[in-house]
Symmetry: C2
Subunit: 383 residues, 2 copies
């Protein structure tokens, strides 16, 4: 059962203040009249609320826009720049970071290469460099950090420990959330990278507007992220989406069809192998086409399982192989048409390599909004 607390007049003021913040965050700078109209409050009341928000630091006045009829109107904006969020993508070969304002508008991005086998300390140092780089690029300091959200490959516990990571051996067993909390003295959130990518696609990418989305990370390793009712679905033990563990879903060995194809030149690095096959298939090479067919056959089984279970509005194809989405989408759709009850839209990722960091930013922004808008205590000064 939800909240049982009633409220007095200050609660009403709190609600109206939050409504005003929401209105300002949704649209750029607004005049007092526009704000009053949107919130349904009268002008004098809106003024009172705005004055208080300015006082507390959540909102500031901006110069009136010239060239309008009548007396120039005060304009207000949400001070999205008075704090920042950082999203981190901890991958095998790279640590990426992005810094955004409190609205999730991205202000800086960095990338730090790391070797997959690098020891723990080295990777943590890379994280530190990536974040420091973002802070420097955007002229901020660590004190401006409100929330850090990190996505990493591997299986996590709900508390942010790494149960197992094939891509980053040193990661296995690590209390990642704990380590990052030592590094950053702010709110720290940990999530699986595919789930964050899924969130990014649902918010800014190919699946914008969809409430239920299945994101497929297709690459050397298979991964998934589920968005259900607009939110990341983790599951009770943060293990949702691990369909790759089911042999009958035929996902685990699926990439081998592409990696092991005979069109791949002898001595190619394992991470580049599939690219050759996909490129050859695009050129119509029959052996490569057959390999892609076998790959998609397998890919479609696990995908159909997820689609049948969840009936999502959309399936988004991301990850390394999705650069060859033109080769993969049509046959995948064809397979899914055969088994799926209701065929979802199937699209390629539109966000590319920055997918995970953007998802991390969105995750942090969601968390912030939830904290702000569901709080029961009156609005406090903005740090």
């Amino acid at each position: 059962m939800a909240n049982l607390r009633g409220g007095d007049l200050s609660r009403l003021r709190q609600l109206n203040s939050l409504t005003a913040i929401r209105a300002l965050r949704g649209a750029g700078p607004l005049t007092l009249s526009a704000l009053a109209e949107r919130t349904g409050l009268s002008r004098p009341s809106m003024k009172e609320v705005a004055d208080e928000l300015v006082e507390l630091g959540w909102v500031e006045e901006v110069p009136p826009s010239p060239g309008t009829m009548g007396r120039p109107a005060r304009r207000y904006r949400f001070r999205a720049d008075s704090g920042c969020l950082v999203g981190i993508d901890i991958g095998g070969h790279n640590v990426r970071a992005a810094l955004s304002d409190l609205d999730g508008e991205i202000l800086a991005e960095t990338r730090q290469p790391v070797l997959p086998g690098a020891p723990l300390e080295e990777r943590l140092a890379a994280i530190d460099r990536a974040v420091s780089g973002c802070l420097a690029l955007s002229g901020r300091t660590a004190a401006d950090l409100w929330t850090v959200a990190a996505g990493t490959t591997g299986v996590l516990t709900p508390e942010g420990r790494v149960t197992f990571s094939a891509a980053i051996p040193a990661w296995t067993g690590l209390d990642l959330a704990g380590k990052l909390r030592e590094m950053f003295s702010c709110q720290v959130l940990i999530e699986n990278d595919s789930r964050l990518a899924a969130l990014a696609e649902a918010r800014r990418g190919a699946a914008q507007g969809a409430r239920d989305v299945v994101f497929l990370h297709v690459g050397r390793r298979m991964g998934t992220g589920l968005i259900i009712d607009g939110k990341v679905h983790r599951g009770f033990g943060a293990a949702a989406g691990e369909i790759v563990m089911l042999p009958e879903a035929r996902w685990y060995d699926a990439p081998e069809h592409l990696n092991g194809c005979e069109v791949v030149p002898e001595g190619t690095a394992p991470e580049d192998a599939a690219g050759y096959t996909l490129a050859a298939a695009r050129d119509g090479h029959p052996v490569a086409l057959a390999a892609v067919d076998r790959y998609v056959d397998d890919l479609a089984v696990g995908t159909a399982a997820m689609v049948l279970v969840l009936d999502p509005q959309m399936v988004v194809l991301g990850g390394g192989f999705s650069r060859s989405a033109d080769v993969l989408l049509a046959p995948l759709r064809e397979r899914l048409e055969r088994t799926c009850m209701r065929m979802p839209e199937v699209r390629a990722s539109t966000l590319g390599d920055e997918c995970v960091v953007m998802g991390a930013i969105d995750y942090a922004a969601d968390h912030l909004s939830r904290e702000l808008f569901t709080s029961d205590s009156p609005l406090t000064p903005m740090r």
Copy 2:
């Protein structure tokens, strides 16, 4: 983006009135002081709110409880009896109905047998009789009906049309929601029966308290219901949970292992066949045990797929075969342990045949609560 409307003092009163209703619904009759303490309002304000609620008919005063120290306190209760909800389970062989008060407390139940091949009109008449029976048993009339929620076998559209029903041939293509709206001049909700059963198990049954639940209907036909974040998950096209359509999940033909077992006497009705096999297995008959093993082998594949995708807290086994849960649970758990990342609890349904009607009642009650507590308009008189 959520609600952008601010509110004035009447909004505050509305919130406090709703909080009071919530408090009263959560606990039996409460004195004014108890109510004030729970809601955090002062006594005089609480009195004002209570007076208004009594005025509008949502709440009534009950005689003070005797034998207490001090002056006897006024007591109030939510008038859960001033309206009623009806849940209907439209199955192949039976139409069941249950009637509850507005809190979902069940007051009457009825059952009307129907032949699976019965024509449309006959089944609709059975529905009418089942509901009329409940009304008569509880001394209500159709005018007291607030919401009717119906669960039926088959695949539905989001709007409540039946796309296809193997168990009820006459159902296929029917605008069920439309038909029921003609019969009942109140709110009508339609949902798949397994989903409602899942809801009932999550609210009152084996999975009480769990937010993420996979419900398996095991019987002559396989079905599933998913509870995600405490709510029924339908999917974008109301087709969620149809893993039975995936050949690799090995569900479709799974019941055949039990139905076609050689321990089943010649000439047994198809709906009774599996019962023989399960009973023989319980007695240790080796042929039956082998059949059950093969059955569970298949059952576990589709189940593991759902568990891996969703990572639910609990899996509940319901439907006809779940009467033999003692024979099925242990081997099912054993199979799941092998493939599942994180093993969920696996339990047998505790609600039995009334599962679907109870779920329908819960579904209707949820709908009512959502309407009541998320409304933006001030509280209206209770009809």
